[in-house]
């Protein structure tokens, strides 16, 4: 999508020296110095500030480089598709870039602001009817098409989540079976006193549910702390404001409901197993 200009921008960026000392102070030709906007990370790494002059060219080592003044710094967008890419970005005036790269009167794309939703469909039809060699798309459709990478990542995360839940469920059921088995003599004594199996199962299920709820609340707190740590770490590494992990209300609710359901189910299974055994057998007689 970015095509040649991106390569030029990157090349231009890489021709910039990584120290302010090599910034040229004498103009190579008497032209008006235009302003450009530089990636804030590049500015930090190269020691460049707003007001400094840099040389911009389409090819590395090009002696016909133009001088430009840094007029603004660009903060990195919180765009997941850019995170993994370390190249710098810059913004030039359109005509300056066209001239630098020899594009002539060409662009890679237009962005169109329509008067409103009602006029958008008609506008699309008009443009596409007249288009030759290009096409107009609603921005939302572009977003969907370009988000397929994240759809894959989402499915991957979900698959990992399923595996983790299966392991946790097995772990939980195993531990509950153990803990409830430990109380076999207590259960036997209750049965011999005349307490019904239903009462025993209900109390075990209630206990398991409470433990699961308390555990899930603790887990939520832990998850929020870890999410903050993850964001702090990766935002620092990638120098971005992108949130890498989000703890939403839906996520919290899902986690709590799932753990309570699993806990109650595990408690029910363990309790049912125990009350199905005759009391005397539980006592080892």
């Amino acid at each position: 999508m970015w095509g040649l200009p991106c390569a030029v921008l990157l090349t231009a960026a890489l021709t910039l020296p990584l120290s302010a000392q090599t910034i040229d102070s004498a103009p190579s030709r008497p032209v008006v110095v235009r302003t450009i906007a530089l990636d804030a990370r590049l500015a930090t790494d190269a020691g460049v500030r707003i007001g400094d002059t840099v040389r911009v060219s389409a090819l590395p080592g090009d002696t016909a480089a133009e001088r430009a003044m840094v007029g603004a710094l660009l903060a990195r967008r919180a765009d997941p598709s850019e995170i993994a890419r370390s190249e710098y970005r810059a913004r030039l005036h359109l005509d300056q870039l066209q001239r630098l790269v020899g594009y002539g009167d060409r662009v890679d794309r237009f962005a169109i602001l329509s008067a409103g939703d009602s006029s958008r469909a008609g506008l699309l039809a008009t443009i596409n009817g007249a288009a030759f060699g290009f096409r107009a798309w609603p921005s939302a459709e572009i977003a969907v098409r370009t988000s397929s990478t994240f759809q894959v990542v989402r499915r991957f995360h979900r698959a990992i989540g399923v595996i983790t839940i299966v392991a946790s469920a097995a772990f939980l059921l195993c531990i509950l079976l153990l803990k409830i088995d430990e109380r076999r003599r207590d259960v036997a004594a209750l049965r011999m006193m005349g307490i019904s199996p239903a009462t025993i199962v209900s109390s075990v299920v209630l206990e398991a549910g409470i433990i699961a709820l308390l555990g899930s609340l603790l887990g939520v707190v832990f998850g929020i702390v870890v999410a903050r740590l993850v964001n702090w770490h990766f935002q620092g590494v990638h120098r971005t404001s992108l949130a890498f992990t989000l703890v939403t209300t839906e996520t919290v609710l899902f986690a709590c409901v799932l753990s309570v359901v699993l806990g109650v189910l595990a408690g029910w299974v363990a309790a049912r197993r125990l009350v199905a055994v005759p009391a005397l057998t539980l006592l080892g007689r």
Binding site: A7, G61, S86
Partner: protein
């Protein structure tokens, strides 16, 4: 006898033993998958780059191959210069572009490669013939299916549009000579290849003597870094990328998966250890009386520890072996998910099974299971015999 006692102790509670094995197996499966993900990507990527033996890539300055539409000029002279370097065996120039083919009312946009058949490293012929002259084109199955053509048919490819004249530019009529499997594009991506001079001519003056990429093959045993440095010095407008350099760059792009693999792998190991420790601890606490009796009749502490540790070992080993099988299945499932990444080459795999890595990771789980049993076993064997028996009698 300790072995028998250990096996009997596990068999006494089949439900809890099976559940513990299931929990350990799933943890082991996840651990194995994460190890495969972490180490496999690197190994697979390097193998992927070396499919035809080209160890170096030359791309426009500051870019990775086909990372952008940038091209290298004066390609002929550059190829000659690199070819004359010591230890350089072959140089394969490649130009990339988009081509359009009209089929009925629709247009097929294909990724188009301009190559030199004698040294190309981008595809292998599956059916038909390779390119022999400027009138031929090699296509992949996807393109063939979309175009509803077969080998021997004539097709027209164009590489651009002139919106003012409302015509296509760079048109060429070609004959389909063969069907190929392209290594570096997705099977869902229509891809075609023509002779390099043909594609350069189709691109007009903007593509004259330009290439997107050079692949360089060094002699066996040559110092790759030295060759890379020599190639880099041939022009200021290129970046020479070694296998290691390319791997590092791609690893940066895929760093997320490696970090995820590390975190999830560690958690899986911890969960497996926790499960074994908990099971052994609770099981040993349940049998405190039995253990006290064994001590009372003269069983040495170390034999009791041995028995309990054996229980942990059996659980861990059976869990780890089950986890190996389960892990291979889940890896296939996860691989199918990740294969849907747009543009993912068909020959690239995220999960690569390497026996050594699998052995180390599952061995770690099994060993951790053993260690997990030592402390609870020692504690139980060290309980005062008389006091424990009295407590059991009261209970």
């Amino acid at each position: 006898m300790p072995v028998r006692l250990a096996m009997l102790a596990l068999w006494r509670h089949p439900a809890r033993t099976l559940l513990a094995i299931l929990g350990i197996a799933v943890s082991a499966a996840l651990l194995l998958d994460m190890v495969m993900l972490a180490s496999g990507m690197r190994e697979n990527f390097q193998g992927f780059l070396l499919l035809r033996g080209y160890q170096l890539r030359v791309a426009p300055k500051g870019t990775l191959p086909f990372d952008s539409d940038a091209t290298i000029d004066s390609a002929t002279a550059l190829v000659r210069a690199i070819g004359r370097l010591p230890n350089v065996v072959a140089v394969s120039p490649v130009l990339g572009a988009q081509s359009q083919t009209t089929v009925g009312d629709s247009t097929i946009t294909a990724f188009t490669l301009g190559i030199e058949p004698a040294v190309q490293g981008d595809y292998e012929i599956v059916r038909g013939r390779n390119l022999t002259d400027s009138g031929g084109v090699v296509v992949n199955q996807r393109w063939l299916t979309l175009a509803r053509r077969q080998i021997g048919d004539t097709v027209t490819l164009a590489v651009g549009y002139d919106p003012q004249l409302r015509t296509v530019v760079g048109e060429r009529t070609l004959v389909i000579s063969g069907v190929a499997r392209f290594f570096y594009t997705a099977t869902t991506q229509p891809t075609v290849a023509v002779l390099l001079p043909v594609l350069q001519a189709m691109g007009g003056s903007t593509q004259r003597d330009r290439v997107s990429l050079l692949m360089v093959k060094a002699a066996a045993g040559a110092d790759l870094e030295a060759v890379r440095n020599a190639v880099q010095l041939t022009s200021a407008r290129i970046s020479a990328i070694s296998l290691e350099g390319a791997t590092v760059q791609v690893e940066q792009r895929l760093a997320y998966f490696r970090q995820l693999a590390l975190v999830l792998g560690s958690i899986s190991l911890a969960v497996g250890v926790l499960l074994v420790t908990t099971l052994i601890t609770i099981g040993v606490n349940e049998r405190a009386g039995e253990i006290a009796v064994l001590r009372a009749i003269g069983t040495a502490k170390r034999h009791i520890v041995q028995q309990v540790v054996l229980e942990g070992l059996v659980l861990s080993v059976v869990g780890a072996v089950s986890g190996l099988l389960l892990g291979l299945l889940t890896a296939r499932w996860l691989e199918r998910i990740l294969a849907d990444f747009p543009g993912m080459p068909a020959t690239f795999h995220f999960f690569v099974f390497q026996p050594r890595d699998a052995g180390i990771s599952l061995g770690m789980l099994a060993a951790a299971g053993v260690v997990a049993g030592i402390y609870p076993a020692w504690r139980a064997a060290s309980l005062p015999i008389a006091g424990t028996l009295r407590k059991e009698a009261v209970a």
